[in-house]
Every structure is written in C-alpha cells, then in structure tokens.
Subunit: 430 residues, 2 copies
Amino acid sequence: MPNFVSLPGFRDFYPGDLAVRKHIMTVWREVACRYGFEEYDGPPLEPTELYVEKSGPEIVQQLYNFADKGDRDVSLRPEMTPTLARMVGARASAMRKPIKWFSMPQLFRYERAQRGRLREHFQLNLDIVGEAGVGADIELIAAAIDVLRAFGLTSTDFVVRISDRRLLRALLLHAQVPEDRLIRVYNIVDKLERESRESVAERLGEEVGLGEAATDEVLAIFGHRDFEAVRNAYGGTHGIGEEIARMRELFEGLEAFGLADYVRFDLGIVRGLAYYTGVVFEIFDIQGELRAICGGGRYDDLLGLVSGSDLPALGLGMGDVVLRELLAGRGLLPATDRLLDYYVVAVTPDERPDVLRLVHCLREAGHSVDYALRHQGVGKQLKSASALNATRAIIIGPDEVADGVVVVRTMTSGEEERVPMDGVAVTEVG
Amino acid sequence: MPNFVSLPGFRDFYPGDLAVRKHIMTVWREVACRYGFEEYDGPPLEPTELYVEKSGPEIVQQLYNFADKGDRDVSLRPEMTPTLARMVGARASAMRKPIKWFSMPQLFRYERAQRGRLREHFQLNLDIVGEAGVGADIELIAAAIDVLRAFGLTSTDFVVRISDRRLLRALLLHAQVPEDRLIRVYNIVDKLERESRESVAERLGEEVGLGEAATDEVLAIFGHRDFEAVRNAYGGTHGIGEEIARMRELFEGLEAFGLADYVRFDLGIVRGLAYYTGVVFEIFDIQGELRAICGGGRYDDLLGLVSGSDLPALGLGMGDVVLRELLAGRGLLPATDRLLDYYVVAVTPDERPDVLRLVHCLREAGHSVDYALRHQGVGKQLKSASALNATRAIIIGPDEVADGVVVVRTMTSGEEERVPMDGVAVTEVG
C-alpha cells in the first residue's frame, strides 16, 4: 500500500496553518481595501512567453514550465505583474485611471538547485497603473508600511529602504558610466553589502571597463548613505537636481502621512531586474535576520511591452513566508485555536430529534454549533464540547423536553441555567 | 509587439468577477464554520499516482499532468479528496474524530476534446472522516442544503436526490445480478434518464449478460421513484430491510433539521465512480436547466487505500461555475459595485499635506479612502468621488485649513457640513 507524500517544496495547510494564512490574507485585504485598491485574480497558469517577454529567456530555468497536452509551452505563474499587465492592457482604454488593484496569488518557482526551499508561496501584489507622478509612489509605499503596521509591527521592527533608478542613472552618467553599461553596474553594486569595496572596484574595472576615476566616483556615490549628503553633493548639478527634488517630494509626502520613521534613503537598493524605471524600494527587518519582506518599484515600460497599452505603473510584492517568520519571531501571530459557540448534548437517544432541531435553529441564527454524530454518554459529549473549545454546552434530557426547556452550561465556569427551548436560539454569545 | 491572451479554459477575474467569486466563497466559508467544519488546504500540484491510485489509470487522460524538471510525474489537482485523504492519513492517529474539514480549492482538468469548456473551477469541499453512522450522512447533506439556502435559494429552486450504494447493491443482488458485475450495472443505469428503457434493457443483456428475468427485475427496481414504494416492496426482505431502515433514519434526521422539503429519494442517483460505498447524492436545479450543482457520498475505503489509515469518510464537492449560473438566473448575485467611504479633495496644491494627513487618519480608523494622486481641479476631483462611489467627499481649501475645519459633503444628497478637522476621523459612516 503506497504512502503518499506531498511534492518537495509544497506546503500542506492543516487547519492551524490555514488559520495563520487566513489571518495574513485578511490583514492584506483589509488594508488594501482601506487604501481603495480593488481585488482581481488571473489564471495560475499562463503562456511561458508572457514571462520571457518581461524577463528575458534566462527566466525559464527558474520557471515551473512544461508543454501541455495541446503542445503549448505553459508556466505556473512565478509572479503576478505580467498577468496584471496583460489584463489591464486588454481593457485599458475603458478603465478609469489611476487603476489601483491588488491580488494575493499563489506563485511558483522551480529551481533545480533549491533543496529544502519552498517552490510556492502566497504574495500580496499592490499595483497602481496610469499615474506617472510621485503621488503614486507615496501612496504605494505608504500602503506597504500600513500593511505591516496592521500586523502590529512598528518602526523598531522594519524599515523601507528607498532609491530611484532615475536618480541613480543620473548620478552614474555624471560619473562617466556609459549609458549602455548601467545595468551591469546595477547588478554589481546590488551586492555592495555582501562584497568588499575592493572586490566591487575590481569588478567595475574588469566587467564594466570603468577607469579608475569613474570607479572611484561610483564608489563615492554609493558611499553616501544619507539623503542630505547626496543633496548637498549633487543638488545643484544639472540633470541630477530634479531627481533629487522628486525624491525629496516623496519623503515629504510620507512625512505628511505620518510615516517618516519607517523610511530611509538608500542608493544601494538597486533591485537587479532590468525593468524598473523609477522609484525602487525594499523592506527589511531591522534586526537583519531575514530576507527582504517586500520589494517593489516603478515599471513604466512593462505595459507597453506586454499589452501595447503604454501606461506608467508601479507595484510591490510581499510574500507570506518571510512575513510569517517575522510575525512569529515578534509574537504577533494570533491564537489559531478553533472556537465553537455551542455544543448540544442529548442525554438519551430519544432527544436526538430535539438536538437536531435546536442545532439547526442556532446555526440559522449564525452561531457555530456542533454535536455528537452518534449517541454517546453525556460525559463523553461534554468532553467533546471542551475539546472543541465550545463557549457553551446545551444539554437536553427527557425532563427538559417534558418542560420545554434546555440547560445552558457556560464551559469555563461550569455555571448552568435553565432556558426555555424556544428562547435559546436568540441568546447572544458573550 | 505581442498581444498576450490567457490560456483557453482559464478565467481572468477582473474586480467585478472577483467580487462575485468572493461572495460565493464567503458564503461557503460562513456556513461551513457554522457547521463546525475547519478549513484546510493542500498543494495545487500533487504526484500523478495519487489520482491514479484512487481512480485508476484512465483518469490520466483527463488530468493536467506533466513531468517536472525533477522528472516527477505531477498533476494540477483535479479534485481535493485524494489530498484530504493523504493529509488526514498522515496524522490520523493524533486527531479527534470525527474530523470535519472544508476547503475551497481551484481544481484543474485537461480533456483534449473540450473546446470552449473551462479547464479550472473553484470547488467547496466538505468532508467528515471517522464516523461510519448515518448521523454523519445527515450532517453533510444538511450542510449542502444550508449552503445553498444561505445564497437565498429555496426548495423551489433545487432538490437533493439521494440514494445509497448499499441499498442499491442489496436490491441488485436480490435481482440476481452477480456481485462482480454491479459496477457495470451502475454505469449503465446511471444514464437511465437520458436513454430509453429498451436501450438500457439491451445493454444490461449484452454488456452485463443479464437474463430477461433479471433485466426486468432491475428495471422494476429503478421504476420505484418513491421511498415508500421501495419500502413496501422490499422492507421485509432479508438483507434489504436494514438498508431501508437506515435510509429512513436519514430522512427522519433531515426532517428534524427542518429540511425535508429539500430532499428526495432517487435510486437513479448512482454516481458512476467506483469508490462510493454508501450514501450518494446529487443536487439539481428544479428547472433542470443546469448540470448537477453538487455531488457527494460516502467513500469508506479511500483513506485505507491512499494512506493506510482505515477510516470511514464521506464528502461533497460544489463548484463555483454552475452555482454562479444558477444564482445569476435567479437574480441572487449581489451588486458588486465598489464602495468607498471617503474621497478627500484638495482645493489648491497647498492643502496636499493636510489631505494626506486626513486620508491617513481616516484609513487608520478603518475607513476606505481615496484621493487624487496628483493635483486636479475641484470639479474633476468630485467627479472621481462620484465615479468611485464614495459615500462622502471631504473638501479642504485654504479657508478650511485656516479655520481648522473641513467640508464634508454627502455625495447622494449634496448636503454639506463644516466639521472640525480633528473630529472628522471619528465620524462613523452611515
């Protein structure tokens, strides 16, 4: 007889795990709705070319892709943005802008090398389409912060590190990095925190072909960890000043939102992906124990690429796995014990019809109710009531039926009360 | 430039569609919780052999299966029961019985021939594991009825047709059908409603090898459409009487639940699948326009087969597609217009920080709030407030800032009121 197990990298959600997932999704949805985002969803399976178009052919090695029975090359979705771009693009002309959408898809990756790592996770996606201005950047980053705050996290737990591709580009061009080598520089400096300054300098010379002066200038740029320092150094420089002004507007907006404590300027936030065109940000736990909690940015060219509707856009993704670890570490996961309003007990098998009648009345009134599916002794039934965490047990015996009453027992105190059978269904649960 | 479309048979859920799906799932979850079922979920991808073990190798032609990059034969889940059996089986000994679980998975089928038909749907699954008695049958069928009632459907809209494999088996054995040909008879009579009596008789002779007397007897059995008729004919027959008594107990339980109007005995409900072992039922719309809304039954052998934990079980599945058609036809789908509590308007760009401050306060108080992401004229902003279905607009101009007040406009009436800025965030939405 086979003993089946789940596939490596996939999670089973037993009720306790599902309750945590539901809590996370409930908070995600609640904050997104407060911010005026509307929920959408797309297929978990899309044509592989949709992802290749966005990320290039190298992405395929990370995809859960295969040929379906109709010989289509298809992929389990590794991210939601291409689907969003496809869907918005198809109806863009008929839709009010800005479009504020959210979704909570399960996403999939298959990398051969990843032993023991998950191949699926759930991810909150928030996107704003059709607004090129910094106002949308403020709104999106504020939403990310308020999502985390809604879980009980504070500015002592996490920080949003913010940069802007346009500012970085202007600074690097100013440092004499040729335009066609910007992406290569981004990919190298993206690892600044993990590599030594010397190793980065060497790679800038060898891999990008920068001279010594340009290399020094690039490293000096990333040496500024503070917005004021960058502003003082480059605020008056032609082509950089306006980028700095926009960044300043972003921070002022977040300050008006009351969220200044949560954000930090950080040119080192590059986000390797080629498709970002403006603001980029990542959220980290302050203690630096976990991978990024959330990442996002502006991708003004993607919709044109995928759908032909040339609309500016920005978005973020926040996965459930790192978030869950963070919340667990801070003691911020809710108790997931099931709760039951009533457990109804029959003293003898003869009261069974009365039990069923009452169970149905209570459920009709919106209460969660359970009872023994086959007759058992009263003690065993009350034990079940305890095990199921019932607030109250209702006991019906021959005497109660004769008198038209039931006994209502509060499980914590053991207190009992005789209540007319007709009246019990309207009792509110305390 | 490519114009991407979704894969055939997969739905995009734009916000209006997602709102309907969410309504359906909210009702599913609410009723399941009232009944004391706990929510779980499993992977959308499982080893193909899990489904082959349950349903036989023929199932593969209907599966969305493929070889993954680790050369495993995997399938997008076509149904939830094997996953449930695997999960429960793995922890069965540590779990309280009966186990009452529900889930709302997205399921997938790939049949080459199906042009224009969906290849995915969402399905409510309710299962009770660990209780062999009729009490569990009553509970499950009552839950199915109450789910549909919670959508506003009544006994004039749908009916549950109920049979039992054990009763049917006893009747067919009594009619001299050999035990090893029962499944073949089930599969033929499953089509009784769609085929003529003559054609069924012919197939019973040719494909099952029944003689004329046995064929007549089988047809006579299925001629009884009424429980009392079967009871009168076979109630005293050895081996059949106890099956009839159990069926009677089932109907009495549903009557005690107040649900007698929703159920009908119908020996013609066979459900082709070989793995049912007891009660079987299907729910149909009374007008007979749609495919079955829901189907289920008892499968006492499956857990032993899949997991080695030999536990009795029964369950049902209710898909979102037929249900949605039914609700739409009866005018029972809710309005899915988005609603916004507040839209906050800046008269000049100078009030922008005040707008952001107020927006954040209102959102912190739990309201859904939107505003213009870049400055626009007041008229245009109020138009957005209308388009977004805002209950109220809040207008902040230079005079209001000077006086520390805001203007609150009720959008339907146009009525306006000046309210202290500090007090507005605590105003309840009417």
